[in-house]
Symmetry: C2
Subunit: 341 residues, 2 copies
């Protein structure tokens, strides 16, 4: 193990500057109660010795750490990446570190609980995890502010998005373009998110006087990523085409699904968007290549806002009751002609 030899402490600085450690501490924390001359001397000593306060010791003494954490099931999708970027933007100029807690796709509750138990952060951003009662209570005992992302909970600040609205946008767009039979690729599992999207889809159809046809609401078998995966999208699209070749447009519930669907469509000798228009959820980097309109969730903005709010809480500059913010996705139309019928 790396043995810390001759580590320079405030004592060294103090003796070098000919003052007491408390004085050093004062200049460290830029207290006004130090004469300019003394301050200068201390600063020079610090400079010379190349001293910098031990973060751990400081944290212990102050009883607070300069670290916030992001706990998230996975950070490898463009989706979560944007979130990260937003958070980074928010803390980039503060003297704050970001701890990444990868919850993993399995036993995420266990991992989260472990992480919380270690408790070495002054604030937590919890993204993509449903806040169960169990978690909520554990979150409270850790007595540090928490901002939840992607889910709702009355006890915490939260930023989530209106999936129903997003799905509605996508479907309405397709309807406006003249499509009558619009399929939906869903996740294989039940979830609030998924239910909301289906609700939005259904509402948009019905508002336009179109039938809601359950036979073209399909999901893939592949369980990976709860059915939001590319494979799943591929399977779902294949199935949909087999069931109902008359589908002219499809709304996919995730970027990955959309990509999978695109592959399936191509494999059948059809093209996107000429034969089948496709709209995907989430911001898809590849969308421009495959002629895909997307429902964009502005995760970067969400990350920024959530982190900003957390910082406020951490700094005690905010004591409002917990609040829920519902972000509205927007439709990003690559090329309107591309989705026209």
């Amino acid at each position: 193990m790396p043995e810390d030899k001759n580590k320079v402490t405030i004592y060294d600085v103090a003796s070098k500057a000919g003052v007491a450690i408390s004085t050093v501490s004062r200049v460290l924390n830029s207290s006004p109660d130090v004469s300019d001359e003394t301050r200068a001397r201390v600063k020079r000593a610090i400079e010379i010795l190349n001293f910098s306060p031990d973060r751990v010791a400081r944290s212990l003494a102050q009883q607070k750490v300069q670290t916030i954490a992001l706990a998230i099931p996975t950070f490898t999708t463009p989706f979560h990446n944007e979130l990260l970027k937003g958070i980074r933007n928010c803390i980039r100029d503060e003297d704050i570190d970001l701890l990444l807690c990868d919850l993993g796709s399995t036993d995420r509750h266990v991992k989260l609980l472990n992480f919380l138990h270690r408790g070495a952060v002054s604030g937590l951003l919890l993204a993509g995890v449903k806040v169960t009662d169990r978690i909520a209570s554990e979150l409270k005992t850790m007595n540090a502010p928490v901002v939840v992302i992607g889910y709702h909970h009355p006890n915490f600040d939260s930023y989530s998005w209106d999936d129903s609205h997003g799905a509605g946008l996508a479907v309405s767009h397709l309807i406006e373009r003249g499509h009558k039979r619009i399929g939906l690729i869903r996740s294989s599992s039940q979830s609030n998110t998924q239910n909301e999207r289906i609700a939005g889809y259904r509402r948009a159809l019905e508002a336009a006087g179109l039938d809601f046809d359950e036979s073209i609401v399909v999901s893939g078998e592949t369980a990976k990523h709860a059915g939001y995966s590319e494979e799943s999208g591929f399977e779902a699209m294949k199935r949909m085409l087999a069931i109902s070749p008359r589908v002219t447009a499809v709304f996919a519930s995730s970027d990955a699904q959309a990509i999978g669907a695109w592959r399936a469509i191509r494999e059948e000798g059809l093209t996107v968007p000429n034969d089948i228009a496709l709209v995907g959820y989430d911001d898809v980097k590849t969308s421009r290549f495959i002629g895909l309109s997307t429902v964009d969730q502005h995760m970067l903005a969400v990350g920024e806002k959530a982190a900003a709010r957390l910082m406020q809480r951490v700094e005690g500059k905010m004591n409002e009751p917990p609040q829920s913010f519902l972000e509205r996705p927007e439709l990003k139309i690559r090329n309107s002609s591309e989705t026209s019928r």
Copy 2:
């Protein structure tokens, strides 16, 4: 600020269990020198009080933290994402946290130095940053193990990749497919990486008896990302086509550049890969959509290896002198007919 009231400490546990704090500490650290009966009593007390040791205090006492950091200019590209995934894989089951230090695209040295100065990690993965003497010396004084990724330095373990070899693979592949005039899109700035790639490109050409024609080695003007950006690729490709319309294949130095080049090619009414075959560096998610072979650097594997080595160092299980590992990129051919002439 979140005031820690009635925080439960080992003292509470000790008195509750009727033992001394050292005994509690022992069971906390699973020392064998505790009778089963006492251990059980203590554990129960811990359970009841829902106690968990303060990480900060523990770190102070042990003089070591359970945290490693990844310092990186940006973590928002698929490239760095893979790296992150690899690191995550390595530490996921350890009781170790990962601190993310975003160096930003500007003044990254300052940021890194600041971060190091805060010094609250037991190990550092430094990726995508050239290790200058200044940094090297700062790195040493922080007396924690460091593994450098993407660059070389005699004083540190490092994982980098053979860019010359990678470029050679790409170009040789194109040559084998019958291409005679193969352009290169380079970065606008000089760098080891870039020089290596040009060297590999040149060597492959010359080995095949083809001329090295400097007029089709171009870069964009756009300075963003040192010229590795999409815009830059776009500009470079436009320029190349203007200069030498006879180019039938192009090797781009980054994924972004390749995408930009693809756009430029399309805009000229040409297609990839029919009119112009394209090979890009880095694993490109979009490659399959735009018919692009890629030189793949296996960043996931690099991340895993680097993190594993760092952990070994941190745990003191490894005292070998610093070693440099040179990874060999591989060519990922999407469809060999696609790049044929």
